[in-house]
Symmetry: C2
Subunit: 330 residues, 2 copies
């Protein structure tokens, strides 16, 4: 059986409904999963006006009974009604729906009634306006799955990157580097490769400082934190190496020398991936008990409602979630 | 008249002599400059054994009288004799020659008997073994040209990057960020574009933190240092903008939206440039009274003597120095 994937609509005033409507016109979606939209059937129907081919959105009351095919796509809202769509408008009600639909999807994933979650973007200011303190999906996941120590992965066809830290000031990112945290990141990357069935699992660990510190001349983190973490993981049987200079390690991964790279901070991984695979990057949360991937862009209020948003990242996120979920099922 | 460029040999046990021998077989070198090698004629002659076509190295005692053409290349050693070449061997005498030939070239450039310098790599451990405290070319330049506040530029055909700081720990690089230092970096980038005769001079300034700090949510450097520097430079008539998120600004430059980007630290600029233009990156020192470019790689002891080192970066460094120097001459 193909995995059941919850596709959350996110902020209805952002590009979420549009990219959902577009991706659902791809028959290939059903070849990798059985999709269920977590969001508003009415909003999806409205947004579909702009796209050519459409599966009919069918509002369902129970995820378990949902039938999904290219002609009809089930939509589950859990009784949470969307406000009228006003593309580009900041709306607390839209923020509330985005959070609650996502929480609903997490509960279903924890209960194994869905096999994975793929998220469309929500707007941070919008969810703050709705009274939540979350910075984004990750904080909601950390709370609802009781996983405070998760990691941001960013994967494309040729590059797989796990970040030691995520959305924080660069100064704080440096403070967060410790042997334990780097080792946990390596293990999560290794685990992700196993779950994806990767034939080789050669993990590169990037340095923090220029030239990976050049033997301690520029910073001590390589010697004090990163190298001990690599040595520990090697003792555990993980095929990892480094610390490698960050300005060539991604090129080497791109050329096939490594299967995954552990990056020391957000931009160290995001700069190379976006340069090589702008529209194909998929964000996934590692270190949580469920499968969750995400598009690698925001609500894009500036282009919402104009039907120009591309669904490439969402389609890549669906494929990756399906790959993770399919193997979990086995 | 074409500009006279001093090509310094660097560490004779590294790949310097080999890439020099190779690049001098390109007749195009003489279409952009009149080259003079600062180094050992004997070492160059020896190394040429491995290459097909060769201009004859002619040892000269006076730079001013040197005649350079594709049949004969002048070599100036200033009385500093090279040790026997032992590829890959760490040798204090090789370190001493690399430093002294380079200092000789700087003196000639300061006296305007050469119009620019292009450097082959030296080895930091080698120059320390010879008793110098310099970390590399940049520190020698800062001392000999009395320019403590210089910057590292990294240019390719489509990307031009000026770094706010160079070879130091990432933590120290963050400490170095100030409005004055960022503004000086923007001005040096602007000046470089003018000297190169760039028709447009749109300068992007990268942020330090993820998403350029996301309105102060992740770090205050964008608000406190980077934005005030941009505003100051705009008042001075420089076409600059930002702070832009670092994970997309280089892609935008690559696509033609900007002519130069100011990067906040070494790897922020080196990761994208090496990914896009590995062999074509040229290092140049900005904020000094002379023209100096450099290959963007080290001595590569592991491959020295095997005649496999590529001269692409050296050829790019010669072209860029010639472009800078030609306009200075006008």
């Amino acid at each position: 059986m193909k995995p059941i994937l919850a596709l959350t609509m996110g902020d209805v005033n952002g590009v979420g409904p549009e990219i959902l409507a577009k991706v659902l016109t791809r028959p290939e979606v059903w070849t990798v999963c059985r999709p269920i939209v977590f969001g508003s059937a009415e909003t999806l129907r409205e947004t579909q006006g702009a796209v050519k081919r459409r599966p009919t959105p069918v509002r369902v009351n129970d995820v378990a009974e949902a039938q999904s095919d290219a002609e009809a796509v089930p939509v589950f809202d859990g009784g949470i009604e969307a406000p009228t769509r006003r593309p580009g408008a900041l709306d607390a009600a839209a923020g509330r729906c985005a959070v609650e639909w996502f929480k609903l999807a997490v509960r279903c994933a924890m209960a194994q009634s869905v096999d994975g979650i793929v998220t469309c973007p929500l707007n941070k200011t919008g969810i703050h306006a709705a009274g939540y303190a979350y910075a984004g999906h990750t904080e909601i996941l950390a709370e609802t799955t009781a996983s405070p120590d998760c990691r941001m992965g960013l994967f494309s066809d040729t590059m797989r990157i796990v970040h030691v830290s995520g959305h924080c000031a660069l100064r704080d990112a440096i403070d967060k580097i410790s042997a334990a945290r780097v080792a946990a990141s390596i293990r999560m990357g290794h685990d992700a490769l196993i779950r994806l069935g990767a034939p080789a699992r050669r993990i590169a660990v990037a340095g923090l400082n220029p030239h990976a510190g050049e033997d301690g001349a520029f910073g001590a983190e390589e010697r004090d934190d990163i190298l001990p973490a690599i040595e520990q993981c090697r003792r555990e049987g993980i095929d990892c190496s480094g610390p490698h200079p960050a300005d060539t390690v991604f090129l080497r991964m791109q050329a096939g020398a490594f299967d995954l790279t552990v990056a020391m901070y957000h931009d160290q991984g995001h700069i190379p991936l976006k340069l090589i695979a702008m529209d194909q990057g998929v964000n996934e949360t590692l270190g949580i008990p469920i499968v969750r991937t995400s598009v690698d862009h925001g609500t894009a209020y500036d282009i919402a409602g104009k039907n120009v948003a591309r669904d490439g990242s969402l389609w890549a996120a669906i494929r990756l979630a399906a790959a993770f979920a399919a193997r979990e099922r086995k």
